[in-house]
């Protein structure tokens, strides 16, 4: 890679678009160049810069699992300039992708442990990558619990996969929606993620907790986990600072001595505690 221009994206063709929730779409992307498809690899937790030429780049995680070869997926909510342009793209269109960037979830170290996934809203995608990675190598892990909440039933993403996870005997799935976000036939929990987590009370024994969500959810989830007996080293999250380059040069995601893009985005709660609260 060293003799290449690090700003040049891979050209990717949109193979499939899934509407996940209002304003939220998943793209399945395939490499235009067969060779790229062969050499490309990534690990759970990494992200990329997705672009529409002439509009710009936007940062999101790779939402598919590294165990699923030949394509990558990203899930995004239409919010700013680039995501609005991406939302207009159609199947068959070309988008740019640079990556993979950043560190990874230390899944090798989690072998033989229980995994507890806690996600809120649009933050399920970074976790979905880890969840499928774990499910595809199921023998490596003990109990897998997923606590997932969104504002409303409509806002839950990956609805088909939630059903699939629910039907699996080797996964415990708890879904919740904010009060007022439920429908008449809603069978899940009603309440915010931290309180539902507290009620669910998963054991901290030999368990890794992975938390992704809006800052406010994370802020209230960490104390609950500590109360449940999780140590700082066994709680992981991802930071989502604004990024441009993805490799520690543009300066934007600098928090204390780390660049979230290069040294993160995955941090343990213990690592997070050492950083100034600029995220």
């Amino acid at each position: 890679m060293s003799n290449q221009n690090i700003y040049i994206p891979y050209l990717m063709r949109i193979e499939k678009i899934t509407l996940e929730a209002p304003g939220v779409k998943t793209f399945r992307l395939k490499f235009e160049n067969e060779q790229d498809a062969g050499t490309f690899s990534f690990r759970a937790g990494q992200f990329g810069e997705y672009s529409i030429m002439g509009v710009g780049e936007s940062t999101f995680c790779i939402a598919s699992s590294p165990t699923r070869k030949g394509y990558i997926e990203c899930t995004f909510r239409q919010a700013g300039k680039v995501t609005s342009a991406l939302a207009l793209a159609e199947e068959g269109d070309i988008v740019g992708f640079r990556g993979p960037y950043g560190n990874t979830f230390p899944m090798d170290e989690w072998k033989g442990k229980n995994l507890l996934f806690i996600a809120g809203g649009i933050a399920l995608p970074p976790m979905r990558c880890v969840i499928w990675n774990a499910l595809d190598t199921r023998e490596n892990f003990k109990d897998i619990t997923i606590v997932y909440g969104a504002k409303s039933v409509d806002d839950l993403v990956y609805k088909d996969e939630l059903m699939e996870w629910r039907s699996r005997p080797d996964v415990k799935l708890v879904t919740t929606v904010d009060p007022g976000g439920e429908t008449l036939d809603w069978k899940g929990e009603i309440g915010f993620v931290p309180s539902v987590l507290e009620k669910t009370a998963p054991s901290a024994e030999n368990t890794i907790a992975i938390v992704c969500g809006p800052p406010i959810m994370i802020k209230f989830t960490f104390p609950v986990l500590e109360k449940l007996g999780f140590t700082e080293e066994n709680i992981f999250t991802t930071l989502e600072n604004r990024m441009k380059c993805g490799f520690g040069k543009c300066g934007r995601c600098n928090v204390g001595e780390v660049y979230v893009c290069k040294d993160g985005p995955v941090f343990s709660y213990a690592q997070l505690k050492l950083l100034p609260a600029e995220y």
Binding site: G54, G56, R242, C245, C250
Partner: protein, 335 residues
């Protein structure tokens, strides 16, 4: 390599300039503009001013232009084609009249654009730059190079350093093979090294602080009233970062013209509120004082902790150009 020292007489210096211009080199040198001196493209020796402490703008734009194409694209129905800007031929540039602080700044700047991810566009530009620096024979209260391991006669980063001697001739210290090549090409202009002591002909720049002490203090100073106090008048512009020879934060922008367009790198600054603003409206650095703190911590804690050198060369440009008279030295010495 072993440093080579020569004498170059005043008229020969002009001849050297003319030889370089004659060989088709692009030369950037300080040009007077009102009360300021600015690095600018010069074609004739007479355009160069000697009356400056440092130029108002830094020389970084020759390796890190304020707007630079990273690639261009062409979209058609069938396919998208990308033209890599790294394949362009970058100009050979001579920086004439850089100060030792300017030359020193190329070291941290080059660090930033290398490491795990090598920026070949930056490196291609850097390779083609020759730094012909001139020692400082005057300084002002904004200068503090000696506090950040540099000095008015410091050679690091320069290919050749000229020091003006009494009578107007110059001592030429040739520091690099690139500099050596330049001397070989005009060897008749260079004479054996003078006896004159270099240090006696340098400006005096007082040592204002101990960088290691500052670094140690900053380790535990994230929450401190000094950030509010010293940044209260800050207007939130990017002047300090844009005149800084080390600051290298950037933005990436696309510009489209029909089905063609370019992908650009543009200067950016941690002093702008927009720099860290999320699309959601959340801003990790909400206030101007948090941004001022970031500027200081980045230069005097984060960079030195990683690469041992400070992210500042003590040129004082930020303080001189600040429209609100916010002075970096004042902040550092009041910690």
């Amino acid at each position: 390599m072993q440093t080579e020292n020569y004498l170059i007489r005043k008229p020969s210096l002009e001849k050297l300039f003319n030889n370089l211009i004659g060989s088709g080199k692009t030369i950037f040198a300080p040009k007077a503009k009102g009360k300021l001196a600015l690095f600018d493209n010069v074609k004739a020796y007479g355009e160069i001013t000697e009356d400056y402490i440092v130029t108002a703008n830094s020389a970084k734009s020759v390796v890190f232009p304020r707007t630079e194409k990273l690639f261009s694209y062409h979209k058609s129905k069938e396919k998208t084609e990308i033209t890599d800007a790294a394949n362009s031929s970058f100009p050979e540039v001579i920086l004439w009249g850089t100060r030792p602080c300017d030359a020193a700044a190329f070291i941290p700047l080059t660090d930033t654009f290398n490491g795990d991810y090598k920026d070949i566009i930056f490196n291609s530009r850097r390779e083609k730059v020759l730094l012909l620096s001139f020692s400082c024979n005057k300084s002002d209260d904004y200068c503090f190079c000696t506090s950040v391991n540099s000095g008015p006669g410091n050679t690091s980063g320069s290919d050749v350093l000229f020091t003006k001697l009494p009578g107007g001739d110059y001592l030429a210290e040739v520091m690099t093979p690139k500099g050596q090549l330049l001397v070989r090409e005009s060897i008749d202009l260079f004479e054996p090294k003078p006896e004159e002591d270099k240090d006696r002909n340098l400006a005096v720049v007082a040592n204002r602080f101990n960088q290691k002490e500052i670094q140690a203090k900053l380790q535990n100073l994230f929450e401190n009233p000094v950030w509010d106090d010293k940044s209260r008048a800050c207007l939130g512009c990017g002047s300090c970062a844009y005149v800084c020879p080390v600051c290298s934060c950037f933005d990436i922008q696309d510009e489209a013209h029909g089905n063609k367009g370019t992908h650009l790198r543009c200067w950016d600054s941690c002093g702008f509120g927009l720099f860290t603003l999320h699309t959601s409206g959340h801003n990790p650095r909400e206030t101007q004082s948090a941004r001022w703190r970031q500027r200081i911590l980045h230069k005097f804690l984060y960079i030195p902790n990683k690469s041992k050198i400070a992210g500042c060369v003590g040129c004082g440009r930020c303080s001189r150009s600040c429209p609100a008279d916010i002075n970096i030295l004042e902040t550092l010495t009041s910690l």
